[in-house]
Symmetry: C2
Subunit: 190 residues, 2 copies
DNA sequence: TTACACAACTAACACTTGTTAGTTTACTTG
DNA sequence: CAAGTAAACTAACAAGTGTTAGTTGTGTAA
């Protein structure tokens, strides 16, 4: 494990502030104060405020894309694929709950990378929906609207970043199992 | 139906902008432009930017509190109470999806009303959890952690504001039923 | 020791922010 | 017609915004 670079440290602290107040409400001077340096010094390590946001969001979005690729290409049952997706969200959200806040709430403040982000997100949702549709065809999943099912599951998973830090004990395996039960047993036939 | 006052019009337009960019990123000049007047003119109708946010969020939060009161005091089964809650969220979210965005994402920018808002929210969540706990005791609901169940259902309901405007056809009755099925059939025993 | 990169600093810039003061215009009401 | 009111306006302010330029100190490699 290499020690954190100064740039990574700034991005980590920024993500924490972004979670608390949102991207727009966090100023470079606030961030600098939190880093115990002057605002101008930040620019030795990052290009711009926008640059910080891009690094937070895009790297997370690509991690999800990569995880989804592995899951959707695997030879698991659809139900197991869904469980893997839940696991993926719990895992990423617990490792980077600050970044997840930006991914969820501040993506619209992306500029040059906005289109790219939107593509990653819509690809992810399409893969998700395909898994559900396959499950319906194969009889694993009840014959309900894939849209509504995806919305219900995905919004819960996307909000994990709010919830995970609040739990005193973060037994991730247990949380994943509980969520799987509650989310999937409303979908699986019988 | 009385016609909308100028103040209500400003609040409505502001809520729309807040949904798109968040409270902090919307300036009084943006809002004024959207209203086709100058920024200073806004102050003939509202006290401050903060005042707008308070009016949007607090009135919505109180509507939820009121709805929850009626539901929790009723003599319905727990499952039926949950269905009523789902109906409540679908109804409010469809009537005011812009305001719901502020309620969800910009509450932390409340100042004098922040404590009040937090109390309303935590009371709401306590009532919700009590319904689930009663359902577990009476055998209507599976014996899973009320926290996780509430989180799963409530985050889905809280995100409806994103989803409802995207649906071309907004058959609210149908959406309520679909959501009830998907959310509750993962909770109801057998 | 000299050279150099790293990471901090001060000072300043051009612009934007929410808001106020004072004024004008156009209806409505007595 | 006179008076009042609602709702717009112009002009300005003080504070805060992201960012740049140029400088300084500090540790490391040649």
């Amino acid at each position: 494990m290499k020690p954190e670079t100064r740039q990574q440290e700034i991005i980590r602290v920024a993500a924490k502030l972004f979670k608390e107040k949102g991207y727009s409400a966090v100023t470079m001077r606030h961030l600098a104060t939190a880093m115990d340096i002057k605002a101008a010094s930040l620019y030795n390590h990052i290009e711009s405020k926008q640059d910080i946001l891009e690094r937070i969001i895009i790297s997370l979005a690509e991690t999800f894309t990569q995880g989804m690729k592995q899951i959707s290409e695997s030879n698991e049952t659809c139900i197991n694929k869904l469980k893997k997706i839940i696991e993926l969200h719990v895992h990423i959200s617990s490792k980077n709950s600050y970044g997840m806040a930006s991914l969820n709430n501040d993506w619209m403040h992306l500029e040059s990378q906005l289109t790219y982000y939107k593509k990653l997100r819509s690809d992810y949702e399409n893969d998700f929906k395909t898994i559900l549709e396959d499950g319906i065809k194969s009889g694993e999943i009840i014959h309900a609207k894939p849209d509504v099912m995806m919305f219900s599951i995905l919004t819960t998973l996307r909000s994990l970043y709010i919830w995970i830090p609040k739990k005193e004990v973060i037994n991730l395996k247990e949380l994943t199992d509980d969520l799987s039960n509650i989310l999937i047993n409303g979908i699986a036939k019988e």
